[in-house]
Symmetry: C2
Subunit: 105 residues, 2 copies
DNA sequence: CTTATTGTTCGATATATGTCGAACTATAAA
DNA sequence: TTTATAGTTCGACATATATCGAACAATAAG
């Protein structure tokens, strides 16, 4: 694991912190599993809103979902784009790749 | 990322939480970079104590290091073994592999 | 323009966490 | 047995966080 010396501990700690909350991790995994990396995320094929759908899926109020989305976006794990009333979300494949390499021997 | 559906969010969130503290992440990376996976960890070739060495390296008191070691061990990221007065630490390669797969597309 | 829908921001609150120093335990050395 | 070294546990404190509901903002529909 020689690459461990090259990472910024503060930055990576922030990323792991973003994944340390169960609901936030579920949001991340939902987004990761429902979309092709690099493309816009949808929970079903009807192109529904991310924040609302995620809240309904996880049974948490939208203000909490919005807060979690903001945090995931802040550390770079996901990206967002407005489409009408809805905010579409998807995972950033580059950061996911960096995380996979972090755990590579 | 089809494997995202199979993980336990609570368990993985705990693991990420263990890595979410900068000092704890530094301990993990020090252990990961200084030892061959599966073997006993040493910071230098003199087989010195892990807790004391880590504390000196990171400039934090031993009670804090001990607390962090306990947390890393609780979630399975590291393993420990007593050797005389010293507690030797090393990373668990299986869990590191699982984390790498978690971020695999 | 008015109403409905979607998402954000704010304030409050309860809970968790990181850190330290002091006291204690365990092992080794003299 | 006494002393030294290494690590753990405990109590305390300050700080951060997760969550909710209410109020607000933006966009769409009528």
């Amino acid at each position: 694991m020689s690459n461990y010396k090259t990472i910024d501990p503060e930055e990576f700690a922030e990323i792991f912190k973003a994944l340390s909350n169960p609901n936030r991790l579920k949001i991340f995994t939902l987004l990761a599993s429902c979309c092709i990396p690099g493309t816009v995320s949808v929970l079903d094929s009807d192109d529904t809103a991310c924040v609302g759908d995620l809240g309904r899926e996880l049974d948490i109020v939208k203000s909490t979902v919005s807060h979690h989305i903001k945090e995931l976006r802040r550390v770079g794990l996901i990206r967002t784009r407005r489409d009408g009333q809805k905010i579409l979300c998807w995972v950033d494949p580059d950061l996911v790749n960096a995380l996979r390499e972090f755990f590579a021997f």
